[in-house]
């Protein structure tokens, strides 16, 4: 009896803790009935709040490019390390998890001089943030991909495929990738969610993205800024749900 009461107390406290800000956001952003329809009206939104529109587009582009960059760099590396260089796996794992242990603010201190060069060579466009973001998402993406690889016997599958006549490229594309599809999907979704929520690095490196624009907008038009935050949260939430559905769908098949 006491345990049930305790459980409900905990759940209630946690629920209030998490839901209260969200409820407050919903309440606040619906005070003006014009706010939410505005978000669905892109021409009007970009005309009335040009900075926000730029931020949204910048974030979407950053999310897309970071995801591609992360997949291209990480997936083949993770597979290759497992197949051919099992000895360096602990090192790769350590390197990939390193960004997690460094606070974003410290990361920026290190990134600032690097970005001075980036400015010089590539320019100050907000899309250049993808380099920093690829490093930032590495711990999460690596974990996801590595979990997928652990679930299958990569070495035996690769050897079977090779003895049947496939070269390394075919092994990776036709044998390994299809079997870690849901893991790769998780890595991609996590990347998108993280990039859409990133503020510190963008702000400190004087580049724009969704969160920077929201923060800026908060000073002039609080309702719209809160509504956009909420929409971004919902999007991340939907992504995570899709992710878990993709996971269980894969689980049903195998």
């Amino acid at each position: 009896m006491a345990r049930v009461a305790f459980r409900w107390t905990v759940l209630t406290v946690m629920g209030v803790f998490f839901l209260l800000p969200l409820v407050a956001m919903v309440e606040f952003s619906t005070r003006d009935p014009e706010t939410w329809p505005l978000l669905l009206n892109w021409p009007k939104l970009s005309a009335d709040y040009p900075a926000l529109a730029v931020g949204i587009l910048a974030s979407l582009a950053q999310a897309a490019v970071t995801t591609v960059l992360m997949l291209v760099l990480l997936v083949p590396t993770a597979i290759w390390v497992r197949l051919r260089l099992p000895k360096v796996r602990p090192l790769v794992e350590f390197l990939c998890l390193l960004p997690l242990t460094i606070p974003a603010i410290v990361l920026v201190v290190g990134l600032a001089p690097v970005y001075a060069w980036v400015n010089y060579f590539v320019g100050g466009s907000s899309i250049t943030l993808v380099f920093a973001y690829t490093v930032l998402v590495l711990p999460f993406a690596y974990r996801a991909v590595d979990t997928g690889l652990s679930a299958i016997d990569v070495k035996t599958l690769a050897e079977a495929a090779r003895s049947l006549g496939s070269g390394w490229f075919t092994v990776i594309v036709r044998v390994v990738l299809p079997n870690i599809r849901s893991a790769v999907l998780s890595a991609a979704f996590l990347t998108v969610a993280l990039v859409l929520g990133e503020f510190t690095i963008a702000s400190l490196l004087h580049r724009t993205n969704l969160q920077v624009a929201i923060e800026f907008l908060g000073k002039s038009s609080a309702t719209v800024s809160v509504a956009v935050s909420l929409a971004a949260l919902l999007l991340a939430f939907v992504l995570l749900i899709v992710l878990s559905i993709a996971g269980s769908w894969k689980g049903k098949k195998s």
């Binding site: 299958i152 016997d153 035996t156 599958l157 050897e159 079977a160 495929a161 090779r162 003895s163 049947l164 006549g165 496939s166 070269g167 075919t170 044998v175 299809p178 079997n179 599809r181 098949k253 195998s254």
Partner: protein, 337 residues
């Protein structure tokens, strides 16, 4: 289709200080099935993997059909391999698994169905690996390996994960299919019964080298060395005296395998060549007897020696503990050391 000849020529492979293979020589005739038999860690898998191109030899050559393929990558070698671990592609069903090699070679996919039929799995085409039993998975793996019409078929303990009954059944089936297709085959196992039952010739390995390579009956009846004798199940080590080409053990003269200088030796006698019958006047006594099915095992003490004999279980009631018995040894050639 006829098989090709395979030669392993002075193969050596070291892992740090471990000599997995130490100058292994092995010639396989076209269409022959050779079983590599040996204790764990003697280098069987290493030999097979080098032949498949999945492992590099430290020294030595691999010749297939007269051509040196030592430096050829696995994907170009044209060898079908069945692994000890389940190796079907989890995202493909049985049919697609068998088709995998055919697609890479742009061959007709019709062969996949034929192969599944050959291994007795028609009707299972659409099952995914996780919907198949272990034995069925290994059958699909065999079909997949055979579908590409490989020059050489390599089997690395394909049956070790299966239960005893399925093992015997699938082993006989592998032999039937191999004879039918005629592919030169190397079959690795550490189960002596499996090796003797399936192979044209059995190669017994010890520490990276071949101890003996001969027909199953030869290995069984005339093991070349004490190690081979021990490995094919000869467990009695009895004192004997060599005289010319015979050895006298427990009062019986037996022919000798090979030659040995005259004098006192230890003879290796298999349990099934010793018959036990009650004889009150004998000094030998039954120590223990254990029922094993149609045959049973009896240990007898003779002049401070322990002798293990295999007897028909029907004789067991009269061979209780303490019974005085007479031992007769079948006149088969024995190994001495």
């Amino acid at each position: 289709m006829t098989g090709v000849a395979v030669h392993l020529d002075g193969l050596r492979r070291t892992f740090g200080t471990v000599h997995a293979l130490a100058d292994l020589d092995l010639s396989i005739s076209p269409g022959e099935l050779i079983a590599l038999l040996g204790p764990s860690g003697c280098g069987k898998t290493t030999a097979l993997r080098i032949l498949a191109g999945l492992e590099e030899a430290t020294a030595g050559r691999v010749l297939v059909d007269g051509k040196d393929i030592t430096r050829l990558p696995a994907s170009k070698r044209d060898m079908g391999m069945v692994f000890q671990a389940y190796s079907l592609f989890p995202h493909l069903n049985a049919q697609q698994n068998v088709e995998f090699g055919l697609r890479l070679r742009k061959r007709s996919l019709k062969r996949a169905a034929e192969m599944l039929e050959l291994v007795g799995l028609s009707g299972f085409e659409n099952r995914y690996p996780n919907q198949l039993s272990g034995g069925q998975q290994q059958r699909v793996a065999l079909a997949r390996a055979l579908a590409i019409e490989p020059q050489v078929l390599l089997l690395d303990e394909p049956l070790s994960a299966l239960d005893a009954k399925v093992r015997v059944q699938l082993r006989d089936e592998i032999r039937r299919i191999q004879t039918e297709v005629g592919t030169t085959t190397l079959f690795v196992t550490h189960d002596q019964e499996e090796a003797l039952a399936i192979a044209d010739r059995v190669g017994v390995m010890k520490s990276g080298k071949l101890e003996q390579l001969a027909a199953p009956a030869e290995v069984y009846l005339r093991p070349a060395t004490p190690f081979v004798a021990d490995f094919v199940g000869i467990s009695n080590r009895l004192p004997g005296v060599v005289e010319g080409d015979t050895v006298q053990v427990l009062g019986t003269k037996l022919p000798l395998v090979g030659t040995h200088a005259d004098g006192a030796v230890t003879a290796l006698i298999r349990p099934e060549s010793i018959q036990v019958s009650p004889d009150p006047s004998s000094s030998a006594k039954v120590l223990t007897s254990s029922f094993l099915g149609s045959l049973s095992r009896v240990t007898v003490t003779v002049d401070d020696h322990l002798v293990v004999a295999q007897v028909p279980s029907g004789d067991l009631p009269e061979l209780t503990q303490g019974t005085r018995v007479r031992l007769t040894i079948s006149p088969l050639a024995v190994v001495v050391e």
